[in-house]
C-alpha cells in the first residue's frame, strides 16, 4: 500500500498552480487528501504529478452573509462545521457536515474538495445541488461559475476541466419561510450512508408552498427531486407517501454488499417522510408559527 512514483509540486500562487496543471495533463490536485491519498496508496490512482494547493493564499475562508455561505478551497470541513454564522445563514450545511465521516477526516478534508470529487454517496455534493449552489473555478482563461445543476455529470465525474481549480463554493442562504432537515442511515457511525435525504420546505402559514429533497447513495449523481406537487400543500401521511413515490420515480438505487436496492428504496421512502416532516416543522418554527 505504497503509492507509485509521482512528482510533487507545491506552488505558492494560484497562477503557478494553474501553470503546473497546464503543463502536466496527468496531474492531480492535492488539498485535504482524504479521498486521493488512499487511492494513491492502493495504486488505484497513479497521477504523474501532485499539485499541492495547500500553500495557495486566501483560499481558507468561510464567509457568511445575507446571500449565503462562501467556502474557500482550503477550508476544512471542521472549520465550516463550527462556524456559527454558517449555521445561521444556511443551517443545512452544518446538519449535513456533521454526517461527513469522522472528526479526524473532517479536520483535514476540505468541503470544496469533497464537492468536486463528485461522489454521489457524499453529503455535500447533494446539499449543493439541493440548495442550487455553485462552484467558482479558476482556469487558464480566468474564472467561471459552475451552477450545481451543471457540476455533476457522472459517477465521480464533475464538469471541471483538467486545467481548472475549484476555488470557492457558494451555498445560498435559507429563504424566508423555509426550513431544512437532514438524515442518513449508515451501516456504522460515520460510514458512507446506505441512503441519506435532505429537504428544504417552504411554508406559508401551515401550507407547503414548495418542497425539494436531495438524495445520497441512491443514484449515479447527487439527485434532487421537487416534491411540491406530490405533497400538494400538506405533510400528512397521504402526502408524504405520494412524495416518496414521486422521489422513487427519479431514483435508481443499486444493490451492493451493504444493502439491496429494495432496502435502499425503502430507506428513501422512510427518510423522505421523516425529513420532509422535520423540514416542515423547522420552517414553521423559523416563521414563528411553532407550538
Amino acid at each position: 500500500m505504497k503509492p507509485a512514483p509521482f512528482d510533487y509540486v507545491r506552488p505558492g500562487t494560484l497562477e503557478e498552480a494553474l501553470q503546473a496543471l497546464a503543463g502536466h495533463p496527468e496531474a492531480k490536485i492535492l488539498a485535504g487528501g482524504q479521498s486521493l491519498v488512499p487511492l494513491l496508496s492502493m495504486r488505484l490512482a497513479a497521477p504523474a504529478v501532485l499539485v499541492d494547493i495547500n500553500d495557495l493564499p486566501d483560499l481558507d475562508h468561510v464567509r457568511a452573509d445575507a446571500d449565503g455561505v462562501r467556502i474557500g478551497a482550503l477550508a476544512r470541513h471542521a472549520e465550516v462545521l463550527k462556524d456559527a454564522e454558517v449555521a445561521r445563514v444556511q443551517p443545512l450545511v452544518p446538519l449535513a457536515l456533521a454526517n461527513v465521516a469522522h472528526p479526524t477526516i473532517r479536520n483535514r478534508g476540505t468541503t470544496v474538495g469533497s464537492l468536486v470529487h463528485a461522489d454521489a454517496a457524499a453529503e455535500m455534493p447533494m446539499v449543493l445541488r439541493l440548495l442550487d449552489g455553485s462552484v467558482d473555478v479558476a482556469g487558464p482563461g480566468g474564472r467561471r461559475t459552475i451552477p450545481a445543476a451543471e457540476l455533476y455529470v457522472g459517477p465521480l465525474e464533475s464538469s471541471l476541466h483538467h486545467d481548472e481549480i475549484a476555488v470557492e463554493a457558494f451555498f445560498p442562504a435559507l429563504g424566508a419561510g423555509s426550513g431544512v432537515a437532514f438524515e442518513e442511515i449508515a451501516r456504522r457511525h460515520g460510514d458512507y450512508a446506505m441512503c441519506g435525504v435532505a429537504a428544504v420546505v417552504t411554508v406559508e402559514g401551515d401550507r407547503v408552498v414548495s418542497a425539494k429533497a436531495g438524495y445520497l447513495s441512491v443514484s449515479d449523481i447527487p439527485a434532487v427531486v421537487d416534491l411540491t406537487e406530490a405533497l400538494d400543500g400538506s405533510v400528512d401521511a397521504t402526502a408524504l407517501a405520494a412524495a416518496a413515490a414521486a422521489a422513487l420515480e427519479e431514483l435508481d438505487p443499486e444493490t451492493d454488499i451493504h444493502a439491496t436496492a429494495d432496502y435502499r428504496a425503502h430507506l428513501a421512502t422512510v427518510l423522505t417522510a421523516r425529513v420532509v416532516t422535520a423540514a416542515y416543522d423547522d420552517a414553521r418554527t423559523r416563521a414563528g408559527g411553532s407550538r
Binding site: A4, P5, M42, M194, I257, T260, Y263, H266
Partner: protein, 800 residues
C-alpha cells in the same frame, strides 16, 4: 504480610507505554533493514504457466527477486501441516512461493527485496506471470457439490470427515415425543489485529547466528520452523517477539511464507531484512474463520430435555489445512455447552474452497457451536411454548456432577471432561442482571411507544488452558529485583501485570520489582504459545511453581544466614525476617550469598559479608545445588480446564428502518479464581465487541470467482466504539479449577463466543412480537437482511 495481589484490580502497567505510542513492535526494529513485498495471485484458482522477472532486475534499489524455482532443500517443500489428525486424510499445505498452481487470491508467488517498500511494490508491477485460470470453488455449496475440485487429488473437496458419538442419538430421537430439525449457517469473519503480520531477520556472520523478530503467538514454534527450513541448528536461531498489536488467533499459524523468506534473505544478502504486512495483504493472505453450515436433528421430552441430538455440519477450511482440524473439532465438541443431551452424534466434513485459509480466530469454532446449540434450545422452547431459560435449566449439568464426562475426545486428544462449574447459579445471576422476569413489562412499555424490543440469552462452556506445558524461570538479582521469563508470547493481554501479581504474592516481593519477559527464546527455550485461552492457566501456573521453588531456596539460605528455622521466616517487601524479631536479610543479599564468588563488585556484595552461610568443610556449591537465586519449573496439566459463561442482550429492531440497536448487554462469566478482575473484564469487553462485529457487521464478501470484494476497513465493517454497547454489565462466578495450583481458568476468548447466538435470539424475539413465524437461521444479519426477512415472513403469514 503484604497485601494480596491475586484478585486485586491492579492497573495494567503496560498501558502507559502502549497508549503513549512508545510500544516497540516488529516494524520498529531494525530501521536499517531492506524491505520486502510479495507478488500475490490475482486468481482464486489458476495454473502458473510462466513467470518472467527479467524486468525487475533493472529496477534500481532491488536486491533480490525470488520465485519457487529459487528455493532449495526444505524451503522447496510444502509448508508444514502443523497439527495432523488421522481423519485429515487429505491435508494439503501451500509452498512458501507457489509451485505451478495457485489456490486463492492472495497466495504468494514471488518475493522481492528492495531498499524500501515503495521500490519493492514498483518491482512487483514489473513481474509478468502467465496464468491459465481454472474454475474457482467458492462457498460451502460449491465445495460440497464438487463440480470443480480445488486440488485435483482431493476427491469431493473433502479434506477430512470426522464422526463422534456418545450413545445412540438416532434411536433416542426416533423414540422422543417431540422432534425438530434446523438448518443453520454462520459466515466468515477474521481476527483483524491492529498490527498485521511482520518479520525482521538479521544474520550475524561473526557468530553464525540468525536473529528473528516476528509478530507471532509462538516464538518457539517459529524458531523450530525457521531452523528446520533453513537447515540451521536450533542453537543458531533466536526468535524474539516484541510488542504484538493483537493476535486473536491468526498469529498462531506459523511459519507464514514471509516468516521463512525474510530470514533466508537476511542470511543470503547479509543485511537485515523486514516484511511488514499491509491491511489489504492481511485480508487476502493471512487467515479467516467461522464459515460453517449445520443440519440439526433433535428429539426432546415435554419439559424440553434433549434426549437425542444429531448434528451434521460442513466446515469451509479454505485452500489449505496448515492448522489441521482444530476449528471443526472444537465446534463438534464444544457445541454441547453446559448441557447433557441423552445421546449425541456429530459428523463433519472439512472442505476445500479457493479462498483464504481458515484457522482459529478467538473463540475458535465455539461461536458456531454455541449458535447451533442455542438456536436449538430456543427452537425447543418455542415448540413447547416454554420459557427459554427454563428449557436451558432442565438440560444443565448439575454442580454435583463434576467432573463431568461428555464422552467425546476434545481438540487436545484428551477426553472431554469438565472439571468444575455451576450453571444453575450462573443462570440465576444472568436472569437477575438482565431482569429476565421483568422483560415482558418492559416490552409492553416499549410497544406502547411504538417500539419493538427483544431479549436473547446464550450459554457456553469453553475448554481453556490446553497443554502440553509452559515453563517459567525466576531469577532474583542481587539488587533484589525479580526477573521472570516465560516462553509464551504477549499480544496485549497484560501478562506483565497479571504474572507480576502472581510472583509478588508467592515471593513476598513488591509488585514493582517484578519484570516479566515473554516470547524470547534466549530467555526460555521451551514453550508452546499464547492461544486457546491458555496463558494465565499455563504460564501463570508455571510462574507460580517457579516462584515457589525460588522462594524455597531463598528461605533455606536465609535460615542458614539468620541461624533460624525455615518455618519461622517470612518474606515481606523483599526482606526475609524471623517472625517476631528484627533479625532480617533482604532477598538481594540472599542472591549474593547464593553465588559463592570470590569477587566483590558492589555494595550488595559488601553487605553480604556480614553473613556466614555454608559448611566450610564442604564444597561451596553443594552436589544437589547450583549457584544463583533462581528457580525453573514447568506446568503440564492432565487436560483442559472448562470456563463458562452466559450472555443476555436486549435489542430494539427499528420498526421502519430495520436498524438493530443494542439496549443492554449483560455477561456472567466464570473463569475460576480471578488474578486481576480489571483485566478479565477488559477481555470480556473486547470479546463482546468482536461478538457484536461477528453478529451484526462482519463478513467476507467473496464473489463467485473468488475475489474478496471488501478487502479494506472501508467495506469490511468492524464495529467502531460507536457500535459497541456503551456499558456491558458483568457479574463473576468463581468455581475454581482443581487442575492447577491457582484454581484459574482461561478468560481470553470467552467474550466473543455467545455473541451471534445471543443476538440471533434477541432479534428473533423482537420480530416475533410482530411476525410470529419469524426465525433467524443465519448470522451475521444486517438491517438490509432483516428488512428482507421481514418481507419473506410477512408474505408467508399472509398466505396462511
Amino acid at each position: 504480610m503484604t497485601t494480596k495481589m491475586m484478585g486485586a484490580k491492579v492497573q495494567r502497567v503496560e498501558d502507559d507505554r502502549l497508549v503513549r505510542g512508545t510500544g516497540r513492535y516488529v516494524d520498529d526494529v531494525a530501521l536499517d533493514a531492506l524491505h520486502t513485498a510479495v507478488l500475490r495471485s490475482p486468481h482464486a484458482h489458476a495454473r502458473i504457466l510462466s513467470i518472467d522477472v527479467d524486468a525487475v532486475l533493472d529496477v534500481e534499489g532491488v536486491h533480490a527477486v525470488w520465485t519457487y524455482d529459487d528455493l532449495e532443500g526444505a524451503m522447496a517443500e510444502p509448508l508444514p501441516l502443523l497439527i495432523p489428525h488421522p481423519t485429515l486424510t487429505h491435508g494439503r499445505t501451500q509452498y512458501a512461493l507457489a509451485k505451478d498452481e495457485v489456490n486463492y487470491v492472495g497466495e504468494a508467488i514471488a518475493f522481492v527485496v528492495a531498499d524500501d517498500r515503495y521500490v519493492a511494490e514498483d518491482a512487483l508491477a514489473r513481474i509478468v506471470v502467465e496464468y491459465e485460470p481454472l474454475p474457482a470453488v467458492v462457498g460451502l455449496e460449491a465445495a460440497r457439490t464438487a463440480a470443480n475440485l480445488v486440488h485435483d487429488d482431493v476427491p469431493g473437496n473433502v479434506g477430512a470427515r470426522m464422526e463422534q458419538s456418545n450413545g445412540d442419538a438416532a434411536a433416542a430421537i426416533a423414540a422422543a415425543p417431540h422432534t425438530l430439525s434446523l438448518d443453520l449457517k454462520i459466515e466468515r469473519s477474521a481476527c483483524m489485529p491492529m498490527e498485521g503480520r511482520g518479520t525482521v531477520a538479521r544474520w550475524d556472520p561473526d557468530q553464525g547466528r540468525l536473529q528473528v523478530w516476528t509478530s507471532t503467538q509462538t516464538s518457539t514454534g517459529v524458531r523450530a520452523a525457521v531452523a528446520a527450513k533453513l537447515g540451521l541448528d536450533l542453537g543458531q536461531v533466536d526468535v524474539i517477539t516484541p510488542d504484538v498489536g493483537g493476535g486473536f488467533g491468526v498469529k498462531i499459524v506459523h511459519p507464514w511464507p514471509e516468516e521463512l523468506l525474510v530470514p533466508l534473505a537476511a542470511q543470503k544478502l547479509g543485511r537485515a531484512v523486514k516484511f511488514t504486512e499491509d491491511r489489504r495483504e492481511h485480508f487476502i493472505s493471512s487467515a479467516h474463520e467461522r464459515a460453517q453450515e449445520h443440519h440439526v436433528e433433535v428429539g426432546f421430552d415435554d419439559e424440553g430435555r434433549v434426549l437425542g441430538l444429531d448434528v451434521r455440519f460442513w466446515h469451509d477450511h479454505g485452500a489449505y489445512t496448515p492448522y489441521g482440524l482444530i476449528v471443526p473439532i472444537i465446534t463438534s465438541t464444544q457445541l454441547l455447552g453446559p448441557y447433557k443431551p441423552g445421546a449425541y452424534h456429530v459428523q463433519f466434513d472439512s472442505l476445500y474452497t479457493n479462498t483464504v485459509i481458515v484457522t482459529p480466530y478467538r473463540g475458535a469454532g465455539r461461536p458456531q457451536g454455541c449458535f447451533v446449540m442455542e438456536r436449538t434450545m430456543d427452537a425447543i422452547a418455542a415448540a413447547l411454548g416454554k420459557d427459554r431459560a427454563d428449557v436451558r435449566a432442565v438440560n444443565f449439568i448439575q454442580p454435583d456432577e463434576f467432573p463431568y464426562e461428555q464422552g467425546l475426545i476434545f481438540q487436545d486428544g484428551r477426553e472431554l471432561t469438565y472439571d468444575s462449574g455451576d450453571y444453575p447459579a450462573m443462570l440465576d445471576k444472568i436472569k437477575e442482571l438482565v431482569d429476565w422476569d421483568g422483560f415482558e413489562s418492559f416490552r409492553a412499555a416499549k410497544a406502547a411507544e411504538g417500539k419493538r424490543v427483544g431479549l436473547g440469552l446464550a450459554c457456553y462452556v469453553e475448554g481453556t488452558g490446553v497443554g502440553p506445558y509452559e515453563g517459567a524461570h525466576v531469577h532474583i538479582e542481587t539488587s533484589g529485583k525479580v526477573k521472570v521469563a516465560t516462553g509464551l508470547t504477549s499480544q496485549g493481554q497484560g501478562h506483565q501485570t497479571a504474572f507480576a501479581q502472581i510472583v509478588a504474592d508467592e515471593l513476598g516481593v513488591r509488585f514493582e520489582d517484578v519484570e516479566i519477559t515473554t516470547g524470547d527464546t534466549r530467555r526460555m527455550a521451551y514453550a508452546v504459545g499464547t492461544f486457546a485461552s491458555r496463558a494465565a492457566v499455563m504460564s501463570g501456573s508455571a510462574i507460580h511453581l517457579a516462584a515457589k521453588r525460588t522462594k524455597e531456596k531463598a528461605l533455606r539460605i536465609a535460615a542458614d544466614a539468620l541461624e533460624a528455622d525455615v518455618d519461622d521466616l517470612e518474606i515481606v517487601d523483599g526482606v526475609v525476617s524471623v517472625k517476631g524479631t528484627d533479625s532480617s536479610i533482604p532477598l538481594g543479599t540472599i542472591a549474593v550469598l547464593s553465588n559463592p564468588l570470590r569477587y566483590a563488585f558492589d555494595e550488595a556484595s559488601k553487605a553480604a559479608t556480614q553473613f556466614n552461610v555454608g559448611d566450610p568443610t564442604k564444597p561451596p556449591v553443594a552436589e544437589d545445588d547450583e549457584p544463583g537465586l533462581e528457580g525453573t519449573d514447568f506446568y503440564s496439566p492432565p487436560r483442559s480446564t472448562f470456563a463458562s459463561g452466559m450472555h443476555a442482550v436486549i435489542v430494539e429492531t427499528d420498526v421502519e428502518t430495520a436498524e438493530i440497536r443494542i439496549l443492554k448487554y449483560a455477561v456472567v462469566h466464570d473463569c475460576g479464581h480471578l488474578i486481576n478482575p480489571m483485566i478479565v473484564e477488559g477481555q470480556i469487553h473486547g470479546g463482546v465487541a468482536q461478538g457484536v462485529g461477528g453478529a451484526l457487521y462482519e463478513r467476507m464478501a467473496y464473489d463467485e470467482s473468488g475475489q474478496l470484494l471488501n478487502a479494506s476497513f472501508m467495506d469490511f465493517l468492524m464495529p467502531y466504539v460507536t457500535e459497541v454497547p456503551t456499558s456491558i454489565e458483568i457479574d463473576h462466578l468463581e468455581t475454581p479449577s482443581p487442575l492447577n495450583p491457582l484454581g484459574i481458568k482461561g478468560a481470553g476468548e470467552a467474550g466473543v463466543i455467545p455473541g451471534s447466538a445471543a443476538f440471533a435470539a434477541a432479534i428473533e424475539d423482537a420480530e416475533r412480537s410482530a411476525l410470529p413465524s419469524f426465525g433467524i437461521t443465519a448470522m451475521p444479519i444486517s438491517p438490509s437482511e432483516l428488512f428482507a426477512l421481514r418481507a419473506v415472513h410477512a408474505s408467508s403469514e399472509e398466505s396462511k
